[in-house]
């Protein structure tokens, strides 16, 4: 088995702001791995911690805890950086430079010679549809054009791993489709793509696997097909029994008991726990009224958490 291209272990970032030392946990101990050649989606609502995670991987932010390995090296390793291309979220580039000049500068940093820089810059600007504006100062560029420069500068070093933070943002429907095609092209060339998005449809069309992050915590990692199909997260059991049995079961199964007008309610988190719980009711002379799987789709997960920022605590 080949080593993962990107491996994240217990990565955490806590921001401390202002006079009151207000703390925000933006990323709360996440772990996952991206395998060579896959398109891996990093999916979550706004404010989930996607950008913060990517910035930690790119050496822009120092993690509060945890560890990341990229292409077998620690974050910041120059040889590894040479094999990575990165598109920041809502990128902005120098006011008075043209796209061509900028790509040349980035090419120089990657250590490319002049001929290679010329060739790749022209090729990439054509590829992202900026050929007609390549000589103009970038201060006159629209948001969508800056996004396109961002894609070109991420690819100028011919990287093995491409990290894109919201690559479709700021683009019109045609631009979005072009970016999707670009990502699929990269995969066809054997590159690994790690990109973030808050749009399910984009992830659905492109990703081999996704990691779902909500409020700084990793909810799920896997092929999107599996995660998208309604998945049983919890099973609700409605049951009747005398006081002694209620007390006994509450002790035996500590979590998630409540009572309703129809009887006692218990929420099982796993099949195995459910089986044991049902057996215990029957053994204690109780009665099972109903067993209901609680299904949650990804949309529901998003909608439930959308707009909520991570818990902000004061120390």
């Amino acid at each position: 088995m080949t080593a993962p291209v990107l491996e994240v272990e217990g990565l955490r970032k806590e921001f401390v702001r202002g006079f009151l030392r207000k703390r925000t946990v933006a990323v709360d101990g996440i772990s996952f791995a991206v395998e060579p050649g896959e398109v891996f989606g990093f999916l979550g609502p706004n404010g989930a911690g996607k950008t913060t995670t990517m910035k930690m991987l790119m050496g822009l932010i120092h993690p509060s805890a945890g560890k990341a390995t990229i292409l077998g090296a620690e974050v910041g390793d120059l040889d590894a950086k040479r094999r990575i291309g990165y598109l920041p979220e809502n990128p902005y580039f120098y006011d008075y430079l043209s796209a061509t000049e900028y790509l040349h500068m980035v090419g120089r940093i990657y250590g490319l010679d002049r001929a290679t820089r010329d060739k790749r810059a022209a090729e990439l600007l054509g590829r992202v549809g900026l050929a007609m504006a390549q000589g103009r100062a970038m201060r006159s560029y629209s948001k969508g054009m800056l996004q396109r420069v961002g894609l070109a500068q991420a690819l100028i070093g011919d990287p093995e791993l491409v990290v894109l933070d919201e690559p479709m943002s700021g683009l019109d429907p045609i631009g979005r489709r072009e970016v999707r095609e670009l990502i699929l092209d990269l995969r066809a060339q054997g590159k690994t793509v790690f990109f973030s998005t808050h749009i399910l449809a984009d992830a659905n069309l492109l990703c081999d696997r996704v990691a779902i992050i909500v409020k700084g915590k990793l909810r799920d990692v896997g092929p999107l097909g599996e995660l998208l199909s309604p998945k049983v997260h919890r099973i609700e059991v409605l049951w009747q029994g005398d006081e002694a049995l209620q007390a006994q079961l509450r002790e035996q199964f500590p979590a998630s008991h409540s009572s309703s007008s129809e009887g006692q309610v218990f929420v099982a988190e796993a099949q195995e726990q459910l089986d044991r719980f049902l057996a215990a009711i029957l053994a204690g002379g109780g009665e099972v009224s109903s067993v209901t799987p609680q299904r949650e789709t990804l949309e529901q997960l998003f909608v439930r958490d959308a707009g909520l920022s991570p818990e902000e605590q004061r120390s």
Partner: protein, 270 residues
């Protein structure tokens, strides 16, 4: 190509970009035009004074290069790094295959190139004015201009240090304040040894004056040096003096850059 050559190439990429950004900025062109306008004004003043035309052009010309140079140095030293952080252009650069210190030193190198070009440009204009009035530029003026350039390079290193951890306006204010203090060390020293003698404030001020950059040594025309008045018209400093001022500027500026690198390394780009 060795590791040092590769590292220099990366810094040069940043420097070239910094130079282009700086010289294409209209604010810079306007400031240079002001300096040239001041020199032109010295021609008018020269006409009004009897037989002192050359003297006035030299004095006002050097003052113009120095004053507008300081404004440009603060503008560039603070603006170019803070703007990178504010506009988030730095987000795309730091993840590229270069070290953080290469980015910072590359920016400074770009400022050095820009500032050197500007001082040379303004000096050439001054030389033109002098020749047009029948005067000549001479080695003494070159020494004075080199000293001004050294002062500006040091000031930019100080400005970069501040902007590596603080906001643009605060950085400009701090660096500007240090320049004003550094230009007036003699007066402040006299104050510490006179009025404030034997007070805690006096001792503190003296220690501070030793630690803060001494900008006075770079603008010597008309200054009182070891009890003789030094000016570009008669007795002026030697090449040896220029050399020792260069060593001071490089040592002090170097320490500022090292501190800036250390602060910049720890920074989170959020």
């Amino acid at each position: 190509m060795g590791a040092i050559g590769a590292s220099f190439n990366r810094m040069w990429a940043i420097a070239l970009n910094t130079f282009r950004e700086a010289v294409r900025n209209k604010v810079l062109a306007i400031l240079v035009m002001f300096a040239v306008a001041l020199m032109a004004f010295s021609l008018v003043l020269g006409q009004l004074s009897l037989h002192e035309e050359i003297r006035i052009i030299k004095d006002l010309g050097l003052a113009g290069i120095s004053i507008f140079g300081v404004v440009i140095a603060l503008f560039l030293g603070v603006n170019l790094l803070s703007k990178e952080l504010e506009r988030k252009t730095v987000y795309a650069i730091i993840p590229k295959p270069l070290h953080r210190h290469e980015f910072l030193l590359g920016k400074y190198l770009g400022l050095v190139v820009t500032m050197t070009a500007l001082v040379v440009l303004m000096s050439v204009v001054l030389w033109g004015f002098l020749v047009a009035q029948g005067g000549h530029h001479g080695v003494i003026m070159v020494r004075a201009e080199i000293l001004i350039l050294l002062e500006l390079l040091l000031l930019m290193a100080v400005a970069m240090l501040f902007s590596s951890f603080s906001s643009p306006w605060l950085s400009a204010m701090f660096a500007g304040a240090l320049w004003v203090i550094g230009r007036n060390t003699a007066e402040l020293e006299a104050f510490a040894q006179g009025k404030l003698e034997d007070t805690a404030g006096g001792s503190l001020l003296e220690v501070l004056l030793d630690l803060l950059p001494d900008f006075r040594m770079f603008f010597v025309s008309g200054a009182n040096f070891d009890e003789t008045v030094v000016s570009v018209h008669e007795s002026f400093v030697s090449w040896a003096y220029v050399g020792s001022a260069a060593v001071y500027a490089m040592t002090y500026g170097g320490m500022c850059l090292v501190a800036a690198v250390l602060l910049f390394r720890r920074r989170d780009f959020v």
